[in-house]
Every structure is written in structure tokens, then in C-alpha cells.
């Protein structure tokens, strides 16, 4: 059912307009510009055509099949329009208008009427009070955010601004992009857990990124989340944990904000990676979607300078991650290629050993990842900037290293995450690392958080098998639980 909506092959824009400041104009313009693969049907009884596409008086007057309707008209017009959508056998409607539950009693009543009408008409609703949705595969952009990058992350978001933030971040930092963006809005009809079930089965979605202010069917969500995280990671930020935050969440989507202790325990139990700082949301999702998890909570640091190594070790230790001793073999191999001043204990500090040949980074990484004690590798420092900072000629061995580091993850089935001061310079070596989906950040804090999330997810994947009772009980007793 959701497939027909989220992968719609035809969209009607109810409220199509010739006025460029109107959503009903912008939506069509975006679909055209982005090259939406499906059909577009503008609907407006007062216009003949919009942006060169003939207009229909109503959705029922469209002579072809319509999968999805984007409704851009005000709240009070919705119930009547949904009835028409039902007659036309439209699978779903994206309702942009606000003015429902989030505005108090009257709005609540209108929302109830909308849900009721939708049910009677057999139309499922995304929203209301949503910025829309995007299907990156078919270029069905019903939001208007420009240049969203395509990739393996599905974004489920309860705030249009947060969606814009996350998509912009992916764009600016040239990280991986998205399969879908779904703005759940007031979650009046289609629920979080239904989106989750759909995305679990979407082969292009590698990880699911969620910003949640409150959800109405927490138990069903947890059940679907439990099933999902076995297959792909879910990364989630729940806002509204402070009293004031709650007030703001209340007035924003009128959703319920539960106790954060309960929520965090529940999400964690279902294998969800819970994030508290919004900066970490996208990087962690990208890391979990691209890197194998860490099975033994043991990480090695490879550095080309003491400061970053020290801070990195502090941060990993704060996360409870072990920095294992490297085996004698590993140390001997490192000693053979590094200068005498280098530190070959963990953190490994090349001590200038890469200054004239940054390709040695890849050699070191290879030696370290072969060590059976090491579950994953954190590279910190200047990698990717040798060609910028020291001599242009160094860019070539640096690119060589990037290629080899990029391929190493699959070969060894151990993750690599890179901190580089030159991350935002987007040098060739950095771009190559990104080509191989290696996370690269200029923030040590975020890089370490990415490593921590790989350890945590690895721990979860090891342990959940032992807890099948949980699911069994769940299904068995869920009805009684109400």
C-alpha cells in the first residue's frame, strides 16, 4: 500500500497555481526541474494550465490513474478534497496545510474529521502539517529542497526545518545522500512504524535516520524497529526532553513527548542508535550505513601528531571503548616502516613518518587492521591535506593511500573512520575516501562518536539473538497491553 504512495508514478497537485510564491506553483516547478519520472496533473478549476501543463478542474476529472495527491490548499478544504481523492481511487495524499491538532481543540476536531474521511474514502494521509516528501529514486520532490544528494539513507522527520538541516548538511559536506525523505507532520494517519516497515524492505535504503518529537503508537514502532535493526540501522534523535522543549514540541506538532528515560531505554532495547546532539545525527547514520560494525569494542588510533591522538584517546575512553595493545607482530611491522621516534603502541603516532610519503598511511592501516585485537580503525590528523599543506607532489601518494584505505574496509570487514583537518577542502584524497564511503570529518568529537556508534551497534547485533523471548512475548501479549 505504502509502495504506491512513496513510489507514486503519478501525482496530482491540488491547488496548482500560476503565482510563483505559491506552493502549488513551486511544487510543479520543482518536479519539472528535478525531472520527476512520473506524470504530473495540476488541479485548479480557475486555471487552464500551469507551467505549460494542462490543468484539471478537479482530481476526479483526470482521465488517467493517479497514485498520489499533493494537497496545498488550506485546512478547511481538506475533507471535501479527500472524498474526491477516494472517488478517484488515489492511494494517498500529502497534506501540507497546518491548522490541525497543533492549534488546540478546534484543530483537533478538524484533524479527526480528516482522518475519518480518509478512512472512509480509502485514502492514506502523509501529514497534515508536513513539508512533504521526496523520493530520490524517481526524483519525486514534493518539498522544494534543491540539490538533495541521492544515497542510501532514508530520512523520517517530524520537522521540516530539521529535514532541511540534515539534507543541507549532506549537500555541503558532500556526504552520502538519501533514498527518501518523509515528513510525517502530525502523524494523523500513516504512522512511524508503517514507514519503518516499508523502508526495511526497500533494498536501496541502507540506514534510517529519524527526528522524532513524539509518536502516537510507540509499541508498534518498537516492534517494527526491533525487526528493522536486525537488518539495517536506525539512528534517532528525540527532541522535547526538557520541560521547555516539551512545550515547544507541543505547540509544534501537538504530539506527545514522553519521559526521555523511558524512551531512551525503549529505543535502545530495540537496537536503535539514540543520538542526543543533533550534529551527530547525520554523520552517525552515514557511518552505520557504510561501515561494518565493530564486534569487540576495541579500536586502534593512527595519528600523524600527538594532539589529535591524545584527544581522540580521551574521547574513545569516555565512550567506554578499549584501545587494545597491539601484538608484537603488529608493532614489529610498524617499526619496520616508521621512524624511530614513532609510537607503535596504540595510539600509533607516525611521528613524521608520512611527511615525505603519505602512502605509508595505507601501509600502517593495513598492518593495524590485520591485528586480531583491533576491531576498527580511527585515523586522525592531516590526511588528505599533505598535498595542500606540504607539497603538491604529495597528493599522488596520498591518493594512492586513499584508494587502498577505501578498499581495505571490505577486505578486512573492519570499519575505518577518518578525522581530517582538511575534510572541508574536499581534496582528491578526501573525495576518494568518500567515494569508498569512508566517513571523513573535521570534527574529532563527531569522528569518535561515529566509532562509538559502530561499537554500540556491533554489541547489539551480537546480543539480540539471545533475547528472542522478547519478541515472542511481544507478539503474544501485545493485544493485552493495549
Amino acid at each position: 500500500m505504502l509502495d504506491k504512495i512513496l513510489n507514486a508514478r503519478s501525482v496530482a497537485i491540488i491547488g496548482a497555481s500560476k503565482n510563483p510564491t505559491k506552493r502549488g506553483y513551486q511544487a510543479i516547478k520543482t518536479l519539472l526541474e528535478d525531472g520527476y519520472e512520473g506524470k504530473i496533473f495540476p488541479v485548479n478549476p480557475r486555471e487552464d494550465s500551469v507551467l505549460g501543463i494542462p490543468c484539471y478542474d478537479s482530481i476526479t476529472s483526470i482521465d488517467q490513474e493517479v497514485d498520489l495527491a499533493l494537497i496545498t490548499t488550506p485546512a478547511k478544504t481538506i475533507p471535501a478534497l479527500l472524498k474526491e481523492c477516494g472517488e478517484k481511487k488515489v492511494a494517498g495524499a500529502v497534506i501540507v496545510a497546518g491548522g490541525f491538532r497543533e492549534l488546540g481543540t478546534e484543530g483537533k476536531a478538524l484533524e479527526a474529521l480528516v482522518v475519518e474521511t480518509a478512512k472512509e474514502s480509502g485514502v492514506r494521509i502523509i501529514g497534515p502539517n508536513t513539508s512533504g516528501m521526496i523520493n530520490m529514486k524517481s526524483n519525486m520532490n514534493l518539498v522544494g529542497i534543491k540539490n538533495a544528494p541521492r544515497g542510501g539513507i532514508a530520512l523520517i522527520c517530524q520537522s521540516g526545518n530539521m529535514a532541511l538541516t540534515l539534507i543541507t548538511e549532506a549537500m555541503i559536506r558532500k556526504h552520502e545522500g538519501f533514498t527518501y525523505y518523509i515528513g510525517v507532520g502530525n502523524e494523523a494517519d500513516i504512522k512511524f512504524h508503517e514507514y519503518l516497515e516499508f523502508l526495511r524492505n526497500d533494498p536501496e535504503t541502507k540506514s534510517i535516520l529519524m527526528y522524532v518529537e513524539g509518536m502516537s503508537q510507540g509499541r508498534k514502532f518498537l516492534q517494527q524497529a526491533y525487526e528493522t535493526t536486525k537488518k539495517k540501522p536506525i539512528v534517532l534523535l528525540k527532541s522535547g526532553r526538557s520541560a521547555t522543549g516539551k512545550r515547544s514540541a507541543g505547540s509544534h506538532t501537538g504530539s506527545l513527548a514522553g519521559m526521555s528515560e523511558v524512551a531512551n531505554a525503549a529505543y535502545g532495547r530495540a537496537g536503535i542508535t539514540v543520538i542526543e546532539n543533533s550534529d551527530e545525527l547525520f554523520p552517525v547514520a552515514q557511518t552505520l550505513s557504510s561501515q561494518p560494525s565493530i564486534k569487540n569494542n576495541q579500536v586502534a588510533i593512527l595519528a600523524d601528531g600527538g594532539g589529535h591522538a591524545t584527544i581522540g584517546a580521551d574521547l574513545l575512553s569516555d565512550y567506554g571503548i578499549g584501545l587494545p595493545e597491539l601484538s608484537e607482530t603488529t608493532r614489529a611491522k610498524l617499526r619496520a616502516i616508521l621512524p624511530a621516534a614513532a609510537s607503535v603502541v596504540n595510539p600509533v603516532d607516525v611521528a613524521g613518518g608520512t611527511d615525505s610519503n603519505p602512502a605509508i598511511f595505507a601501509d600502517c592501516a593495513n598492518i593495524i587492521l590485520k591485528d586480531p585485537n583491533v576491531g576498527g580503525l580511527l585515523i586522525v590528523g592531516l590526511f588528505g591535506g599533505y598535498g595542500i599543506r606540504f607539497a603538491e607532489s604529495l597528493a599522488i601518494p596520498e591518493e594512492d593511500a586513499a584508494h587502498r584505505i577505501g578498499k581495505m574496509v571490505k577486505q578486512k570487514n573492519k570499519p575505518i573512520v577518518v578525522h581530517s583537518l582538511y575534510s572541508s577542502y574536499n581534496s582528491h584524497p578526501i573525495e576518494l575516501l568518500r567515494y569508498y564511503n569512508i566517513p571523513v570529518h573535521d570534527s574529532l568529537d563527531i569522528t569518535c562518536k561515529c566509532i562509538a556508534s559502530l561499537c554500540q551497534y556491533g554489541d547489539y547485533l551480537k546480543s539480540y539473538h539471545a533475547k528472542t523471548n522478547f519478541v515472542f512475548n511481544w507478539g503474544f501479549r501485545a493485544k493485552k497491553a493495549g
Partner: protein, 225 residues
């Protein structure tokens, strides 16, 4: 359960301590040996049979903060003390009560708090806390959405900051983890079987020096959300 049904029919907001413990017992949670008595003589006879020391408490559904209302007498070691305690409780009480509870006195330096609450998003949740100042001052508590299995219950205890206190601690034996896990799972079962119960508190659940655990006070709050 009949107790709950009756209380609901009478429109009571909660069960009394004694009734609450009967519900917990039915699900296998170990509670204090106790008898509800209705006269001073009966109190003494009960205490003699039970063995000293005992505790006397006024018992009624509407007595939610007993010690503040001056209707608890601890550590009574003989018939005279029981008599005095009985009379002084009866004197200080000005509301209708079900009777006086004569209860075995349980001693232990370690105590836990357990509870059930219904979260608006996730439904029944079970809480485990290290009692005393650990909960009061350091907010040392752990939550789980119900139901869960033994492994999960064990994890809850492990996640307490004061988890070390459940091991061998200051010359006392390891706490009986099997029973602690049973209690947590039992609370989950009660929550799922009885939607008409909105909250449960077990406070304290005392761990004696041998590691045995006993629910010493309990409260079951009614009200179907």
C-alpha cells in the same frame, strides 16, 4: 482478580498495602508475612505466632503516605510494645481504616525500588531503582518497556550505577538475582494482564544480609487510562 474488581466497583483510587501485596504475591513476588487484625488482642496473638520483631501499620486504600501520617510502628519486640503501638496508632488515626497490619520486621542495609508506570507513548514500563539515597539523591534507576525476558531483567540490574551493591557488599551476601528478575518480570506480567492498574510501587524491596529479597511496602494504583 477479585480484589481489584471490588476496589474498582467501590471507586477506590488504589489498593491498600495489604491488598496490593496480595496482587504481587499472586504473580510470585515475595512479600512480608503479615496479617490484617481488628483488635489489640488479635494483634498481640498474631505477633506471638509470627515471632518478634514485628511492625504495625494502619491499613487502608486511601493511606498512601503512611509514615508521614504517623501510623507505622517499627521493630516491636514484645507483647507490651505491640499493645502500645496498636493503641497509639488507633489514637492518632482519624479516618476509617481496614484494620491494622501486623507484619514481620525485615532488616537489611540494601533496598531496591521497583515500579510500573504507563508511558503515553510506549505503554507499560517497569522501573528498577537502588533504594535509599541512591534513588533519592543520585536518581539511580533504570526503565524497560514491558514485557521482557530474564536476560533483559538482568541487564536492568546491571545498568544500575550501584549495581555493585547487589554483589557481595560490606560483608553481606550477593542479592538473590533470580528473584529480583522474577519480580521485574512479574510486574510486567501484572501490567499486561491488568490494564485497569495504572501504576505500581514497591518501596522498599529489602535485601537482607543473606541476599534474600522481600517486598516490604507496596502500592497498586487503579485507573484505566
Amino acid at each position: 482478580m477479585e480484589i481489584i474488581q471490588t476496589a474498582l466497583e467501590e471507586g477506590l483510587p488504589a489498593l491498600s498495602e495489604h491488598q496490593s501485596k496480595k496482587v504481587l504475591e499472586a504473580f510470585g513476588i515475595p512479600t512480608t508475612r503479615e496479617t490484617l487484625v481488628h483488635g489489640c488482642k488479635e494483634a498481640v496473638v498474631t505477633a506471638e505466632t509470627m515471632g518478634y520483631p514485628v511492625v504495625l501499620k494502619a491499613c487502608a486504600a486511601h493511606l498512601m503516605h503512611k509514615s508521614e501520617k504517623n501510623c507505622v510502628r517499627l521493630n516491636l519486640t514484645g507483647p507490651d510494645q505491640v499493645r502500645d503501638a496498636y493503641d497509639s496508632i488507633m489514637d492518632s488515626i482519624d479516618v476509617e481504616i481496614d484494620g491494622i497490619l501486623v507484619q514481620e520486621a525485615i532488616h537489611g542495609q540494601r533496598e531496591l525500588i521497583m515500579g510500573m508506570t504507563r508511558d503515553p507513548q510506549f505503554g507499560a514500563c517497569i522501573m528498577l531503582g537502588m533504594g535509599g539515597i541512591a534513588t533519592e539523591i543520585f536518581k539511580d534507576s533504570v526503565f524497560r518497556v514491558a514485557p521482557f525476558d530474564r536476560g533483559e531483567a538482568t541487564d536492568m540490574a546491571r545498568e544500575l550505577k550501584a549495581a555493585a551493591m547487589l554483589g557481595r557488599f560490606r560483608g553481606q551476601a550477593r542479592a538473590d538475582m533470580d528473584t529480583i528478575c522474577n519480580c521485574l518480570m512479574a510486574l510486567a506480567a501484572i501490567a499486561l494482564d491488568h490494564p485497569e492498574i495504572s501504576e505500581i510501587d514497591i518501596n522498599p524491596l529489602i535485601i537482607d544480609p543473606q541476599g534474600k529479597v522481600t517486598a516490604v511496602d507496596a502500592l497498586v494504583v487503579l485507573g484505566n487510562r
